[in-house]
């Protein structure tokens, strides 16, 4: 396997011609997203694995107590680590941030951290000296397009799944209670942003520099690695269930019709609603499972007496 991802001219023509006919190589329709499979860890908090088509990733949330920044004594810390290892694809080098990686990490940063999805003030323990520091490590395991969408979903699911140990504060002194001793506490999540990526293809043979009246651009949702290599323009919309638009990032040269943005936004909203509900159901089930397990444990303890 070579290091650079390259695509043959034959394959390129095939994909493009098929798109013009409204067909995608994996059989989806143009505006159909892949259905993610989300697995939550039954014994750990904040450990989520996502399979988004062939794209695979795992998200781990961890928490520790640190001193806050001098200028923000009431705010906790939240970092997202999006380093991509060569495990995802050999064309990512270890320890070297490629432009793609920087772009992905910035988009995720903006979607989640800058949109205040996690309430930082609720992480404060003792103002100015002790706050929770929450860290999300995204481990990209396999790469087949849609890294932004799946990473954002992964982090948001993991944040909702995560529980930090309970603490008691006694003046300056704090005691961290172990998970066995006291029920851990969930994080305070203000809203759930969902990223939806669109890709645009220019069906014409010539490059379109000025927006024509033709409006022939093909737009597709959630492209695979192959389609990502060929696309002429991309758009990432981050939106939540409350119909709040959080981020719009349009890049790539291909100009698109302005009214199309409205249409795509409402499509993104549908996907966001669907995914948010799906995650919610999953978390609810997980909670019930855990509760059942806990009950069972208690019963066993009684029996042994």
């Amino acid at each position: 396997m070579g290091k650079d991802i390259d695509i043959s001219t034959n394959q390129e023509h095939f994909v493009r011609e098929a798109l013009k006919l409204g067909i995608r190589t994996d059989g989806r329709s143009l505006l159909e997203s892949r259905k993610p499979i989300i697995s939550l860890s039954p014994d750990l908090y904040g450990f989520v694995e996502i399979e988004w088509g062939l794209t695979k990733l795992a998200v781990r949330i961890s928490a520790e107590i640190l001193q806050p920044y001098e200028d923000r004594p009431f705010e906790g810390l939240f970092t997202i680590n999006t380093e991509i290892s060569p495990m995802a694809s050999p064309h990512f080098e270890n320890g070297k941030n490629t432009d793609d990686e920087v772009l992905i990490s910035r988009l995720i940063e903006k979607a989640i951290r800058r949109s205040n999805a996690l309430d930082l003030e609720s992480l404060c323990i003792v103002a100015g000296s002790k706050v929770w520091s929450i860290r999300a490590d995204i481990h990209f395991l396999n790469f087949d397009g849609g890294l932004i969408d799946s990473a954002c979903l992964g982090v948001m699911t993991a944040l909702q799944h995560f529980k930090k140990p309970d603490i008691s504060v006694n003046g300056e002194d704090i005691i961290i209670h172990s998970l066995d001793e006291r029920q851990p506490v969930a994080l305070s999540i203000l809203h759930v942003p969902i990223c939806v990526s669109f890709s645009f293809f220019n069906p014409g043979a010539v490059e379109e520099n000025i927006k024509g009246d033709l409006n022939e651009e093909i737009s597709i949702i959630d492209c695979t690695q192959q389609e990502e290599l060929l696309r002429d323009g991309t758009l990432v919309i981050t939106i939540n269930k409350n119909r709040e638009l959080i981020q719009i990032s349009k890049s790539g040269g291909l100009p698109i019709d302005a009214t199309m943005l409205m249409d795509l936004s409402s499509r993104a909203l549908l996907i966001a609603e669907e995914l948010t509900d799906m995650v919610k159901d999953l978390l609810k089930k997980d909670e019930q499972e855990r509760y059942k397990k806990l009950n069972l444990k208690m019963l066993q303890a009684e029996n042994s007496r």
Binding site: P86, M87, P90, N94
Partner: protein
């Protein structure tokens, strides 16, 4: 020990395996032989790039040391002269480890090293990389005032133990043959050490005959055209 791996789970790399060993969940991927960068290239041998990534946080010197131990093992087990001027890239990604359950588990790397070695074997097999022999490793500890061993100890057991050992053997003709790697720490007698080695060689054979053979047979059955 349940060392049943799942292999070929990633599509972008040449070989991959996932292993669950108690609380440790580890994923290994192997890509190669691929083109090496100019500074990595060795004229007569394949160069190895080994990357260990922790479940949480950035990788530190702790992971560097694990990489070094893995390298010292793999460089003599992979038939490197078969792939001159090329690169074999090995990534070990921990998804969960002992340290998720206990704060001071970071002090012990033995279970993680053991899991990484056993997992990378399946990934190498999956990637069809030529090996001189099979290899398997065992993590064990000795509790104070007892002479018996605990295989695959938990963190609590390691904490109480007097000494802990990771022992890796190569396996030829279903027999544990050569000592490939030993990492022993704590305080122990010479006799205990030899006993640990004997115990480990037996256990390595068990791992090989129970899991590794099976994996190789499956691999050949699945991958080659002349189906059985």
């Amino acid at each position: 020990m349940s060392a049943t791996p799942s292999t070929s789970i990633l599509s972008q790399v040449d070989g991959s395996a996932q292993l669950l060993l108690g609380p440790i969940k580890v994923l290994a991927s192997v890509t190669g032989p691929i083109e090496a960068k100019a500074r990595q290239e060795l004229p007569t041998l394949a160069s190895l790039e080994i990357i260990v990534r922790p479940a949480t946080g950035v990788s530190s010197t702790r992971e560097k040391l694990l990489e070094d131990k893995l390298r010292s093992l793999l460089q003599s087990i992979i038939v490197r002269h078969k792939y001159p001027r090329q690169l074999i890239q090995v990534v070990i990604q921990f998804l969960s480890s002992d340290s998720d359950h206990s704060a001071n588990a970071k002090a012990f790397t033995s279970n993680e090293l053991n899991a990484a070695i056993n997992c990378v074997y399946f990934a190498l097999i999956d990637a069809n990389i030529a090996l001189f022999s099979s290899f398997a490793s065992v993590s064990l500890c000795i509790l104070p005032s007892s002479d018996s061993f605990i295989l695959n100890p938990t963190i609590a057991q390691l904490n109480e133990s007097e000494s802990h050992h990771v022992i890796c053997f190569d396996i030829k003709d279903k027999q544990a043959d050569k000592i490939l790697l030993v990492e022993s720490q704590g305080s122990f007698s010479e006799k205990q050490f030899y006993l640990a080695i004997d115990e480990a060689s037996k256990e390595c054979e068990t791992i090989h005959n129970k899991y590794q053979r099976h994996c190789i047979v499956e691999k050949i059955r699945e991958d080659f055209v002349w189906k059985f």
